[in-house]
Symmetry: C2
């Protein structure tokens, strides 16, 4: 087992980054008020979500039928979690007032024994815990707990934490080994990692024990889900196609987690399970569990992940398929699943002390997660393909899930509040610490202060990662400490200067480990970030003979608005030279476009009307312009393409 890293307190981190900062600011300025209107069904033109209304019905403040998906409550919990992260660090009285009002309502919706779930309380009070596969009660409780921990950390207020504890205490009673208890576990993992957070903030062992139980019991024989399906005679309550195509690995219940070697089933569920597995491995010093985590991580990132950090390549049911099956146009690559990669990877580095996992945390963040939201903060992608032809994203077909433009909201609206809470708590991914060292994991300009052991430290990082990879760190400490600086995979011979002197620092576990004396030190790091053409493993059939453009962590793409219609006609020359130019047509966005020569292929032997005919190919030279993938569809609807064909 490696060492355990701790988070730097979120309210001690201030993000000042030109690029990412814009998104982070968007959360409090736009996303939270906007989502508030949606959850309250008062956004003009938006379909009602019934989310807060459901709580009012459960609280007997309003009469009516409970509506929305069975886990609709989680939208409010994730919103509360985002609010908590935004309150951090600065006064935000408006948010606190809004949140406290919601917390009172949630408290009223809770039953006397601690049960809290508007669907079952209102619609099916006699069917609680009968449908763990589909009913998502434990998943919903997990998000309540996460929100409660965040709000407590942000404000010190205990009301929501007490609600969550009361709910968790009930679940501790209901689930377990004893005869009177249910020997089950959630169909959608989430509560496991939430219980560990609750344990860490309350030090109550029973929450850790329950998380451990849920992970250990999962996939054992006799299989709880098989028994449950039999008890319902195969009848599907919420998701009819889940049963017609249900298989145990869909919810990671085919084998016990310790025996898992591959990323299987629903991608978000898999990632949330893995996050909890790593946490448990740390808490229990369970190296066997960590070995399983490492195998799953390697399988995910070496065989089942898009270059954008997207995972879950089946268009059907948001799930993993098989190694190297990564279709560019029809995959799922759910925004939430890439948030899951961030959660999993962060924990892997924490548990192992190895920085390598952060390469894909960063990949997921800068590409799929940021692509999940528009620059205005009011439209979202749930699905993140690498190749889009808008007219082929036809409703009622197998491409129904792929949208050619971001949507205002979704019937299953997991992604928007998940993006919000991730951006609002991004500090947790930038820095970390242990007893001796301060860690830099992400090069996002920011300021932070914390304690390393008994030393008070302060950092001011100015990052030009997206430009050229030059990072300037001003570090103050009251005692001698270590600074561990993650070395990203795209560096090209890093140059390091300490107090203006060139320094040769050895590399270990993916870090430069710098010893810093008391006082202020100036550290300049130049990762030499360059534009790079990247290829894919030849088992990824769709990408053979193709190249993708990257610069640092960012994947670039071609858009129709810059390059015309039918991007599939475009070919580029192997490793063609690329020139940079500032992107001008997006407000307040300072990134470079990548410009290079290519050709368009035309078949001169066929008329426009023919479907099949003779071949006489002609190459027409064209100038191409690529922009960061995460920024696509911010300038209208059109085609988009990441993987470009190479001309030999």
């Amino acid at each position: 087992m490696g060492r355990h890293l701790n988070q730097v307190e979120l309210n001690n981190i201030k993000i000042t980054d030109d690029f990412i900062g814009r998104y982070v600011e968007c959360v409090s300025k736009k996303i939270i008020p906007h989502q508030w209107k949606i959850l309250n069904d008062c956004l003009e033109g938006a379909k009602p979500t019934y989310c807060i209304r459901n709580f009012k019905i459960a609280a007997r403040e309003v009469k009516g039928k409970r509506k929305g998906v069975v886990f609709q409550d989680t939208d409010l919990y994730k919103w509360l979690e985002s609010v908590a992260y935004c309150i951090n660090g600065e006064e935000n009285k408006d948010f606190e007032v809004m949140a406290d009002e919601m917390i009172v309502l949630i408290g009223k919706a809770q039953e006397a024994d601690g049960y809290l779930n508007t669907y079952y309380t209102i619609n099916e009070p006699n069917r609680k815990w009968t449908n763990l596969i589909e009913g998502h009660e434990l998943y919903t409780a997990g998000h309540l707990i996460e929100a409660a921990v965040a709000y407590y950390n942000a404000t010190g207020k205990e009301e929501l934490l007490n609600i969550a504890k009361k709910n968790a205490d009930l679940i501790c009673q209901v689930f377990g080994e004893q005869k009177s208890q249910i020997k089950g576990y959630p169909g959608h993992e989430e509560i496991e990692l939430a219980l560990i957070k609750l344990y860490r903030v309350t030090s109550e062992e029973r929450y850790l024990k329950l998380a451990r139980y849920f992970v250990a019991e999962r996939g054992t024989t006799p299989n709880y889900f098989e028994t449950e399906i039999k008890s319902r005679d195969g009848w599907a309550e919420f998701f009819p196609d889940e049963f017609s195509n249900y298989s145990l690995e869909y919810s990671q219940a085919h084998i016990p987690p310790k025996k898992m070697e591959k990323a299987e089933g629903h991608a978000v569920r898999m990632m949330y399970l893995c996050a909890a597995m790593v946490d448990l491995a740390e808490e229990d010093k369970d190296s066997e569990l960590l070995v399983a985590c490492n195998k799953i991580w390697d399988n995910t990132t070496n065989a089942r992940m898009y270059i954008t950090g997207g995972i879950g390549s089946s268009g059907y049911r948001e799930r993993f398929t098989t190694d190297y099956d990564l279709p560019n146009n029809s995959g799922y690559a759910e925004t939430c699943a890439s948030i899951g990669i961030m959660m999993f990877g962060q924990r892997m580095t924490s548990a192992t002390g190895d920085a390598r996992y952060y390469d894909d945390v960063e990949r997921a963040l800068y590409n799929t997660v940021l692509a999940g939201i528009n620059l205005e903060g009011d439209k979202y992608f749930y699905v993140n393909p690498l190749e889009v032809v808008p007219e082929f994203c036809t409703e009622h077909t197998s491409m129904n899930h792929v949208k050619a433009r971001r949507q205002g909201w979704f019937n299953v609206a997991c992604c928007p509040p998940n993006v919000a809470r991730t951006l609002a708590s991004l500090g947790q991914y930038i820095y970390a610490k242990d007893e001796e060292a301060f860690y830099i994991h992400q090069y996002i300009s920011s300021e932070a202060k914390t304690k390393i052991g008994t030393a008070d430290v302060e950092i001011d990082m100015k990052s030009e990662l997206l430009k050229d990879g030059k990072i300037t760190v001003s570090f103050k400490t009251t005692k001698r400490v270590k600074l561990k600086v993650r070395i990203p995979y795209y560096e090209t011979g890093t140059r390091l200067c300490i107090n203006n002197e060139r320094a040769e620092i050895p590399r270990k576990d993916g870090y430069f480990e710098i010893s810093l004396e008391k006082g202020k030190t100036l550290i300049e790091i130049d990762f030499g970030v360059k534009v790079k053409w990247v290829g894919a493993n030849s088992f990824v059939r769709n990408n053979i003979g193709k190249a993708a453009l990257m610069k640092g962590p960012m994947v670039y793409c071609l858009e129709e608005v810059d390059n015309g219609k039918n991007l599939s006609e475009i070919y580029v020359i192997e490793n063609v030279k690329v020139s940079l130019e500032e992107m001008k047509d997006l407000p307040d966005i300072k990134v470079d476009t990548l410009n290079y020569q290519g050709v368009r292929l035309k078949n001169r032997a066929m008329t426009r009307e023919q479907l099949y005919g003779d071949i006489k190919l002609e190459q027409i030279k064209v100038k191409l312009k690529a922009i960061p993938y995460c920024l696509w569809n911010n300038r209208g609807k059109g085609e988009m393409l990441v993987w470009q064909k190479i001309l030999f």
Copy 2:
């Protein structure tokens, strides 16, 4: 309106073709006895279908619950239709005994008023005609009628015809304009074309009138299906996902057929509707309806059809999507839908006198329809992709529908008996006639005799279409008649000899029209069939920069067994020279393999373990061998590829 062509009586046609003959013979020798066992639940190792058992329950011979899909009865009807075509032309006492036994059973299962449907009779007697969208009662009746007409034509026996008439008479009473009648139409078209067949054999106008009503009423306002959905409160009885994603165009009920311009929704339904539309246009001399048929045909074959004649490119719900959306690996291209193209195209030529429609009838037959069955006649493809990587056809994912090997049977087993009845009645696609002329539409070696007006004619055609396109026709007639010979699109300057003399015959409507005097004439036609590299319209994004190999009507493909794993690494040189070699590893199959030079692309900069990395491409010369697409997966499971990348 063009002229109406008639079929040459099936029992006067004998197929003698080396290649196709093998499949046709297979129907009576293997497929019919094999399917008989399956329908009777007595094939060892096969899942029960309950098909005949359901009839026994409805006939009160056996007690139990009715099982299988709601339209399971159609399997028996299609089997009976195949049997009828096999009885034709030769004595086949065994088949007739089996069929007659079934007909007695069907008669017993029929209710007193003529109603006949084992699902509703046994399970839901009070819900008849309440679910036209999903319940498939009219579709099932259609297959009963088609079987009855075929069996009557083959044997002259009236028992099944009377059962079908009694059933149709009931439907005539139930459906129509009057107040006491249901103003509806089938969710799955089929009965329309069957009723026209029944009209043509019985001359009873009411059947034609009902077919006309079903077509005219479809898609009118107020929409019957919208009303029906409301009456069930959206509740899905048989196909849960049909409602969650239901749209009226899925069952061609969004607009009246006369206004249709594109092929929409479920591909088989669309084709069956079109077949009936053409028949009606002919019967009613309705040129407006024929114009709609022509538009739909052109849209289908110019924008929505695979090069193999496959249609319905959505992996979800077997349906059309949008123009040029033709994914090679994930599409549906159901075998039955290509049979539908044959039915539609045959009728279009009949109604217009233009041979051009037969180009795609032939394309569908030689590629997707023949691919639908293995050489042994006991395994079937339902879905016919143009590119297969077996490990990517993962169960429980969006590729669940694609199978890397033919299956013994299906839960929804429409395709196997549909292939059987099509092959057994293939004569109808080879020849046709009118008052003055005999037509050759397909170059399948065969003998036939019939009457043209008052002339007795006899033909013996020996075809080398698949070899070099040389056709030898020996034609005898007792009076002067015309012979109209279809000119296929792949001819390369046809040479014609009549009685050993070179003849220049003008072309008209896609035919050579040859006047033949009384007596015997020898006609030699050389279409100059050559191997050809074919390209696709550049809006078919997946096929840009790719070529497919064709020889005559046959599309060729690469298989792993001949060319190694990872066929996506293969590139071919534009219009590279191809040499022919006899295929040796399939028994009794005389076709040529196509052999040519290509390269495999390797990225030398990446290890096998890397998912993304540097690019340094190397081309390795390889010898390639292509075989006819319809023969793939007859030599074990492996990768298959039609569209090959071109190396520039």
